[in-house]
Symmetry: C2
Subunit: 477 residues, 2 copies
Amino acid sequence: MDWGKYMIFPLNRSEFMKNTEIENMAEKWFEANINDVNANWFDLLRFKTVGTDLAYLDECRKCVAWLEDWLAANGFSIETLGPKEAPQIIYAVRKGESDGTALFYGHYDVQPADVEEGWNTDPWEPVIENGRVYARGAQDNKGQVWASLQSIKACIDSGVPLPDLKIVLEGQEESGSDQLIILLEKEPERFKADVVIVCDTSMMEGYRPVIIAGLRGVSSISLRLDGPDYDLHSGSHGGLAPNPATVLAKMVSGMFNQDGSIAVEGFLDEVKPPTEAEINLAMSEPFDEIAYKAETGVLPTGGTIGVPPEIRGALLPTIDVNGFHSGYGGPGGKTIIPAYAEVKLSMRTVSGQDPHKCIDSVRKHFESRVPDGMRISVADSFPGKPAFKVAVDSPFVIKARQILSAMHPDGCAIKYDGASIHVVGTLSEISEGDTVLAGFGLSEDRIHGANESFSFKQFKMCFDYTVKFLSEIGKEI
Amino acid sequence: MDWGKYMIFPLNRSEFMKNTEIENMAEKWFEANINDVNANWFDLLRFKTVGTDLAYLDECRKCVAWLEDWLAANGFSIETLGPKEAPQIIYAVRKGESDGTALFYGHYDVQPADVEEGWNTDPWEPVIENGRVYARGAQDNKGQVWASLQSIKACIDSGVPLPDLKIVLEGQEESGSDQLIILLEKEPERFKADVVIVCDTSMMEGYRPVIIAGLRGVSSISLRLDGPDYDLHSGSHGGLAPNPATVLAKMVSGMFNQDGSIAVEGFLDEVKPPTEAEINLAMSEPFDEIAYKAETGVLPTGGTIGVPPEIRGALLPTIDVNGFHSGYGGPGGKTIIPAYAEVKLSMRTVSGQDPHKCIDSVRKHFESRVPDGMRISVADSFPGKPAFKVAVDSPFVIKARQILSAMHPDGCAIKYDGASIHVVGTLSEISEGDTVLAGFGLSEDRIHGANESFSFKQFKMCFDYTVKFLSEIGKEI
């Protein structure tokens, strides 16, 4: 492979990289190693690490071995943890030169990638276009993990003193981090750290860095409504047989009030409303509806009417249909009453909500609406972890914010994010340290969708921030 | 192929076949020709004649050629009508020995057959099990057409006097009979007949024959609701982006009132309520809910609550979801807000309703409910022909009923059917004759669904009836 053509990386240093020795060394390292950085990143993206699907378990194993080889070559002691029947956990440690312990958390698993969902190229073969790398996981989370690992190598190679490092990379983030959560509770000592660094979130438009003040929880459930034993002729049976697609549509629709708020009985009972300080923090960064439309193609008309998007996009819970499938979907028509209908739902939960109770209330919503003679069943159910809030006044958060603020004329924002990283709450608690959530995604990366990508510019910002932050941690202890 | 093993046909003659010379000759013919009858029927079923999908156009052409060869070999003059870019119409005529003209109408096109919908065997390779032939089209309509054509051949071969015959076999019945309807209106003289014979309907449970007193019309529409430009992350966008699956579910659900009746504005405006005589006729055959549950797996809880199934299954209009597809449907989960959602709907219309107006009202229902920034589009729209009612006092209907009554201890029922044969109303009108709708389907045939089948017993009943009816037509003129 000719890496010459990929040398379109923006090598001009970030604005914040002024004149410290460390920054100069990191920059020099990056210029010297760009070809290896890219080639290895692409290799990492080629592993089809769909952690939710056992068909891809072997790909996960290969990816783990590959990452561990890389970490070992850079002086880490490695353990592979968790049962072999699931995507395993990489646990790598390195004794540092400065004070304190930093735990870096990331994940190598990715969302599924169906060609039918509209990929322009093979999701498992990275392609570069206009300074962006297109592949499943290009950003979430392989891209951000890889940029962070490169910053560690840059420090090691350049002799920049680092704190003790614990690197934890799991393969079940997209499905609930089951094995890592078990391990955290079983062997908490492994995870003690002064600071937990998570680089799995996004910036604002225009490359403005963001520190995340909190995340929602995510839980999901798939249900199937069975009607007739087989697809029925819609003429002979129309008006007689109940239609599973119509009935399921009614059940789905009934989860919401006219104003878009959630109507599922019990779902909102334990919601702890945001405090005034939290609302002020959320409202401190005004939502740009025009920019949102330009990015996504839709106005932000989801959620509860009348609630500002700054609040409903992050501090209110949601229930979203991820998939609804019933009956015929091919070309032309087929006049049937389908035998069954299926729905996949994800819910984002907020402070106070117990994910198990939320799932239960959704399940009951469906179960209590089944017409006589039809059957509802739960195909899958993944109760996640509760929502999580960061200690925004921690010295590590303040330090990270200083570093990130220097990277953009408008400084670094601090805001709540509507997304979820299952394990972060538990990891933060078990570590007994402070957690810093800063990532370099942008909405145009289209994570979880078709044509996911990550730009070289974002990659480099992630690298720059991590070099600087890691080199400063010792000073905060 | 060894046809010996297929000789499980019930060769004992129907009860009504007593001792006339004609019946004896037909029975003898059938016994002598059983192997050819079956082998050719199976060949007919192997043509993948999905008329709605242009990918199968060549299969339709081959099927037409095959049927025409058979008809020509039996003394018919053949014309192939309609444009070559669509499944064509077979028009075959034969000068008869007795008085009058009978037009036999049938169709060689079939519904699509997706292996994923649950077929146990290849839908295009007929398989015999327990006296039933399993294949797409085994019954609807190839099985019934083939049995009817065999009765004609039996009469010809045995010297039974027949009326003048016009055989019309089309390839667009499942999608609206467009080309045949154009032809009927353009060249009405071709279709003049004393009686139109249609064998595309069903019996009651227990092989009890039925004369159909009326059919509903069928129209269909497919709609697509577009939201975001691509699938969005349900965390970052939940509560912000409107969810096309949720919104479409609400639109679908909103087509119905709480009692299950249709709420679409304007849809019911022109419904001509059934007359007392029609209601009495419909109620004359009581609906068996237990038998229905045994057959289909569901209780007849569809349609409007409080209306008896005898009425709502045939004399009231319906709107059914044939397919609803949005977002992820694979294994595991995928926490997205889908970019779009699609629904395919069929509606059954009754006397008084104009199919174009019905489709318009459904389209408006969806268009008027699109949230700001989302887009709805009509992917397909097939306005069908209006509902049709038979002249139940016609001498041909009375004669057919006599013949069919002799075939079952409880006699022949007369009832309205909820299904539709697009072209029948127009054909009946243009022919200026009376129409007789009697068919030999059973609900266990599962037409339009997976594992469609037709039993040898039903096939033989169809053969017996048609021999008898054709031989009697001359006497009614």
